[in-house]
Structures are given as structure tokens and as C-alpha cells.
Symmetry: C2
Subunit: 234 residues, 2 copies
Amino acid sequence: MPRHQNRAAAGGRRRASHSMESVLTEAVALLDEAGPSALTFRALAQRLGGGVASIYWYVASKDELLDRATDHVIGGVLAEIEAIEPGDDPIDHLRAMSLTLFDAILVRPWLGNYFMRNTDVQGNALRLYEKLGQPTLRLKLTARQRFHAVSAITTVVVGSAVDLGQEPPQEVLDGAVGRDEFLGRFAATWRELDAVDFPFVHEIVDEFDGHDDIEQFRAALDLTLAGLRLQADA
Amino acid sequence: MPRHQNRAAAGGRRRASHSMESVLTEAVALLDEAGPSALTFRALAQRLGGGVASIYWYVASKDELLDRATDHVIGGVLAEIEAIEPGDDPIDHLRAMSLTLFDAILVRPWLGNYFMRNTDVQGNALRLYEKLGQPTLRLKLTARQRFHAVSAITTVVVGSAVDLGQEPPQEVLDGAVGRDEFLGRFAATWRELDAVDFPFVHEIVDEFDGHDDIEQFRAALDLTLAGLRLQADA
DNA sequence: GGTACGATAGAACAGCGTTCGATAGAGATG
DNA sequence: CATCTCTATCGAACGCTGTTCTATCGTACC
């Protein structure tokens, strides 16, 4: 474990001088630029201008690196979420916070896979969970209902974001194929299915084709919140 | 691509003789017995009594292997789901199907990570999606609402199951530490948090401690379904 | 100056997915 | 019967990964 890693990097060229901060920042940069598969200890070491083994002084394993990197950016999200005005309606507040979290994960799809995986090292994630829960304290619910409500909401947020953000088949990452065309191909396949065996797929294929991810998420969230409101008003 | 892989395995000992079926069955067995990290081409080859490269005749990559293995067991789940009586209430039907799917993923946590990842090779997953959608055709909804509703439900089911099923920290896999004790440790940490900064966490920590995963899922599902019922009755 | 320790790093290890090239066997063809 | 073809198999190798071992540099303290 690193302590007193303050002293700035002094001019030396031979040996690199890191810090927890720089390690996490560069790790996040790699994740952002080229996805999870690009974050390797070797790539990270090269970026830091040092050796591979040095990283292990700050972090015990790749899992911990991912947990800490995740919590590092969740810190920023937490700040955004804390800046939101509570307003009159607790459920509206919950909704606003959820949308903020969703946006953050949508920009960084890898976040969803590690978020809240280990609250021991993910202090910010825990604080965020707390923030998400606080509005429910203003609702007429049992403790169990509050617990379940917040669990349900985080599931919807993270689940949606992860689903939407799973690494696209490379061709769209390259920009060779647009997302719309990608969706269109699936839609085309679906349209060719037997209309008798697949009435539902045919019913919704036009909605699927070129659909908006954010709108889809908002719909899912609103169903859950509507259910919650019903429960609180009962 | 394999064709006409019917002919039974003839008595030869020197060379192994596989089939798509046997490859997928053994792959699933490995996943079930020791989780995703245990499914390697080498381990699978050994189980099949053959060489590593042979597997590549049936499958182009590990991703495809996982997709096919997933769809293989989804086939069974689909049969269970098709056996469910529709009943009078479409939403109850939806609920029953969701619970069946959830149970299946809970037993095989790895399922959630690959389910519906590529409907091209996952024909059963697509059929399951269709089945989940059919009850919504009996509800008074727009096509878009139907699409969003089914998306929301699959997100809740898969999201919950994935969340609950992420590989536990080895110690509970070994049985050295029970799940309750594992939860209890987290609960203990949470209880030590400042009561002023973490009012919500304190409120729900007792619910978290020793909570039942299935109940938690059912609560999330019911919130969504309540919202859906509201929408359909409007 | 010597010593303890925080911090760095190169080299090696075991394991992974994947590819290559060779080849065994069954069925068709002459 | 010999040969040819195509399906299916496999051992060995490649490049990459996370991780560990061991050696060392450089600073702070006595």
C-alpha cells in the first residue's frame, strides 16, 4: 500500500515516478479510448513510462485496478448527482439522479460491469447508493420496500447501460458501419421470420429499427418509478 | 461448419469423434461445475478426449462457443416457458415466464452474461423473446410501449440475475464461508458508517443482511409490472 | 557514511485463445 | 483394387495475458 506518495516526480529520467492518481487516470484513459480489452498492465505501464511490476505496488490485482478505476470516475458522477436539487417530489429526484448515472455509464460502458462490485474499495459507489436511497426516506414505505426499490432502480440503470454498451462488433467501432445500419441488419433478419410464429417480433421490429437507447432506458425506469409511486401512495 | 455429423462414433480409440451436441453439452457441464473461468479450450478438449484445435471445426471462436452453449440451455428454458398456461391475465402470464427465466439464470449465473448477445446464432433466445412479448399483444398498448415493456422486463430479469450471480470471492465457492456470513461482513462494515452521512444505508442494512435474492428480484419485477398494468389500463 | 525502507523495474512463468500444417479415415471414382 | 477427395482430427507453435521473483535505485534518517 502506498503512503505519502506526494513528492512530485523530480526530474529523473531513468526511473518513472507514479502515484495512485496517475495510475487510475491513465487506466481510465485507456478504458475510454479503446475499451476494456485495451487495459493491460503492459499498455498501462508503457503509458506511465515505467515497468509492469510497478503497478502492483499500487494495486494487488487487475480486479482491484478495475474497481478503483471505476470508483475514481464514480467520484465525478457522485459530484454531479449531489448537485441536483432535491425538489418537492422524492420520486422525481430519484428519476433525475438515475438519468445522470445512466448518462455517465452510457459514455463509459465499461463502468456498468464493475460498478458496486466491491464497496470495500468503492467508497464513492457506496456514497452514490446512499444518495439514491435518501429520497425513499421521504416516501411512506417499509425499510424492506425502500431496500427493494433502490435495488430495483440500480438494476434497471446498470442493466440497461451494460446491455446497450456491450462492445459492438468492431465494425461499428471502426466507424465502417453506423449504428443505424447495424440495427437495420438485425431488423431485416427479424422481418424475414415467419409472421405466424413471431407475431410479437413483427409487431415491434419497426420500433427496434433505429430505436433510441436513452428513450428505451427512460421507459424502463418510468415503469419502475410508476410502480414505486403506486406503492408509496397505497 | 460441420455438416452431416450424424454417423455414430465408431469404435476407434486413437482419434476422438465429436459432434456439435457433445461439444455444447460438455461446455455447459464445465460452466456449471466451475464457472466461466473453467471453460477453456484445453479443458474442453480434454473432456472430449480430443485435441484443442478440433473444437474450432464446430465453432469459430470462444465467443461463438459461449453463444451456442447459452442458446443450447436456453432451449430447455424455452420449453419450460412454453409449457406455462397463459391464463386470463396477460401480466400474470408475463410474470410467470419471467420467474421461470430468472430461476434458470440463478442456477446458471453465467447465462445472463451471454443471453441474447447475438440472436443470429441464438435462435432459442429469439423465440424466448417472442414468447415474452406475446402477452403484451393482449394489452392495450402502442407498439412502442410493447417494445419498451418487454425490454424493461428482460433488463430486470437478466440484470438482477447477473448481479446476484457474479462469481463470489472464491471463499464462498469453496464453502469455507457461507453466503450469510459473507453478507454479514458487508452489513457489519455498513453499520459502522456515520449515521448522519448514511441515513439510508443504516435504514436498510438489516434488510440487506441475510436478504433473499429471489424476493429481491420479485420485488423489482413487480414494480415494473405494476407500472405496466397502470399503462395498459390508462 | 551507513542503513532502512519506499518504490521501481526486467525477466521469467504459467496459462489463455488462436493458427498452421500434417494426416487419418470414409466414400466416391476410375 | 488403387487413387483421389473431402471431412474431421490433432500436436505444436505463436503472441498475448496477469502475476511473481528478485534485484535494485534513491531518499530520509541517525
